[in-house]
Subunit: 438 residues, 2 copies
């Protein structure tokens, strides 16, 4: 058997502990698969005493991550501290000193992928990051290896488990958005400040990575529509259901007439589509290839052992030599010819528009008139009767929801209409506009 | 760029033509991904004139497959003729003359995997076969690479697209089994003789391959229960639906108390599970790993371009050097310690039992008595009223369906009960017994 692969791990949080568990508890199994032992030899942590409780005494523990990054007895550095700094310095030092790198740090790649990948190429080392997108779903391998006979023509992904958990909870428990967020926090699915997840930022960053992989194009979140689930109410999930759809935070990239169209938004998806049926903290990526047609990949998007599973798969890839090959063939953050980006205004979709309006004459007509003048035609309208005020002599105007489904139109038309709609005094602000997936 | 990888293809049927199309029409794209050109240089076919219409003149066409298998200007032989002979001789000759092999031939691997893999190891060549199981679903890569951090604990798979199409058609079109088979044949989803598909043989062979990959154990279809969809009636799909289940031809391998339990049978699956929602000619494999939890992989299970996509992915793997690594790490058809097989009698499940019985006193009691004496307890019973005979004075006894759902019991108990039940004069033969997935 070949020499052991020696691992230096930086960070022993939730995922790090999971990786250590697999490597320590299943050393023989892992060695059988890798053709050599994969040995955890050094770990950098903030609190040595706490780490001692988790892992065996044979492992050198330090509080200085640079010691692990530059250690001469380490072949691969596993970076699991997250965040930009010092993760960037650690990974840079590891590559500089000739080590391969495995990371689950999406933000690091989004911000410093350029430099880090160039450095790895120069040093003829690899960076593996299966755990950085969609946790237990092997989507980096699927795009980079299984789909090589295809041009991927579209990618539609549920990649934020927190948002998916919240939406599932709201719908199935008749829960408000606020209560569902609290439940997600209680269960550890959401951070104390959930804004990265619920505002769509996390999903948009993942879409950026997937778009590079699938279409060879670098994009920044400001180049495409990004919308979070924090604008939704339970009634939207119920209206969508009534119309035959689920609402999911969907990250989409697709080729339309040779242009690449991107968006990360809560999206209405027909009940019959597999994406509509993904519940709780699960992720799913639907790929369409010009040869294979549609393919679906689904698993837990986060969580200790699902993410650790992806990290260990990367380590086995390093051990057997696949990681170096995969990295070399990926062309990430490298110059390449690719597809022009669709201008946001030209993106074509159907839309769900939900207003809260004062229940008085001519409101529907006013809204429909604005939509019509902007070239937006309607496929259906839902208006429910207002509840009668309990005391008929109270002179408040009741507020009622009003839902329009449009035919195919452009984002430009919707934005033009929005400017006018925002001025209608009978419409409560903000009103909600979501795309419908084709 | 490295030297081109030169391909010799044997067979230019549906899939072969698809592979040729990708290689010829997307040569530059494929070269970008593989880091070298992948050139189709030789093709063996039965009918040269017909092949000429499909592919460019630059390619050497022969009717002698051995010429392709042994050609000195070929690096990889792609075997796409199917069947056992001469596929076996062709693959053997290709390996003997130092070529890597890519094949979509499941039957060949099931029957001669032993010899062929040993030969490939001796010659330090690879055999790749992503296209042999589940067409466009990259399940070989998923098990062999993405799941290396896990012990797979269960695998449940819809891998026969023909059966799945027929069951979907029956249910959604209220069609008889016979009519659905005819429709599948008309659309090219079923062979003129569909028995390999509808009797479960094809799915059982695929389960054998997947079991080797996931559990390292060689099994033969006679070592586990194999049952086809040809025993089902539309009423069974309707009864199952009423009870909250879909019926799918499910190939299952799982660890139960350290034993490996296998079966390939039409199985009741709860509506809420992703497997229950796979319709038409699609395949899905649900894997459970001890780290990742559940993961799902789905795509078209057959068809020209989905299968060709898998073949081309294998060719790119050969071109970049992954195929040799993957093959070496797979340990297929090699000696290894693994799990003992569960004895068929000890397999524990719930069951769906549907009888057609003469509507006369004491029939339910007789059946329930036999089940009870064999230790099988019931969780629910459906009996619908018989239609009144049109002429009341005709002395025929009407036949009515009678459905039992059991609690957990053993296959042994069910088989013992079956012997007694078969003797009941009021029960029409054959009656149907299907497992319920846990």
């Amino acid at each position: 058997m070949a020499a052991p692969l020696r691992i230096g791990m930086v960070g022993l949080g939730t995922v790090g502990t999971g990786v250590a568990r697999i490597l320590l508890e299943h050393a023989q199994r892992t060695a059988d698969r890798a053709g050599r032992r994969i040995e955890l030899v050094r770990v950098a942590v903030r609190n040595v005493a706490k780490a001692r409780a988790e892992i065996t005494k044979a492992i050198e523990i330090t509080t200085d991550p640079m010691k692990v990054a530059t250690a001469t007895d380490v072949d691969v550095v596993v970076e699991l501290i997250g965040g930009l700094n010092p993760a960037r310095e650690i990974v840079t030092a590891a590559l500089e000193s000739g080590k391969d790198v495995v990371t689950a740090n999406k933000a690091l790649l989004c911000n410093y992928g350029d430099d880090l990948f160039a450095l790895a190429r120069r040093k003829e080392r690899s960076i593996s990051f299966e755990a950085a997108v969609a946790g237990g779903v092997p989507i980096i391998a699927a795009i980079g290896q299984a789909m090589t006979g295809n041009q991927i023509t579209s990618l539609a992904a549920i990649v934020n488990g927190t948002s998916n958990f919240i939406l599932t909870r709201m719908f199935h428990e008749n829960s408000s958005y606020e209560d569902a967020v609290k439940e997600a926090q209680r269960l550890g699915y959401a951070e104390a400040d959930p804004s990265m997840d619920v505002k769509g930022t996390d999903a948009a960053q993942k879409l950026g990575l997937l778009t590079q992989l699938a279409f060879g194009r670098r994009v920044l979140p400001e180049q495409f529509p990004v919308q979070g689930i924090d604008e939704l109410s339970l009634m939207d999930l119920k209206f969508a259901d009534e119309l035959g759809y689920a609402i999911k935070l969907l990250a989409t990239a697709k080729l339309v007439g040779g242009h690449l169209e991107l968006h990360t938004q809560p999206t209405l998806i027909r009940h019959s589509r597999p994406l509509a049926q993904v519940n709780g903290p699960y992720n799913m990526i639907e790929l369409t290839g010009d040869a294979v047609g549609k393919a679906w990949f689904s698993a837990m998007g986060a969580g200790q052992m699902a993410t650790a599973s992806a990290v260990v798969a990367d380590l086995v890839d390093v051990a057997v030599g696949r990681a170096r090959i995969n990295f070399e063939r990926l062309h990430l953050w490298a110059e390449q010819e690719t597809f022009p980006l669709q201008r946001i205004e030209k993106i074509q979709r159907r839309y769900y528009m939900r207003f809260l309006v004062e229940d008085r004459p001519h409101v529907i007509a006013d809204i429909a008139d604005i939509l019509g003048r902007n070239g937006i035609s309607l496929s259906s309208v839902i208006q429910k009767e207002a509840n009668e005020p309990e005391e008929a002599n109270v002179p408040t105007t009741p507020v009622v929801p009003l839902v329009f489904m449009t035919h195919m139109t452009t984002e430009g038309a919707v934005r033009a209409a929005r400017t006018e709609l925002d001025k209608l005094s009978a419409v409560r602000m903000p009103w909600l506009c979501l795309p419908v997936s084709g």
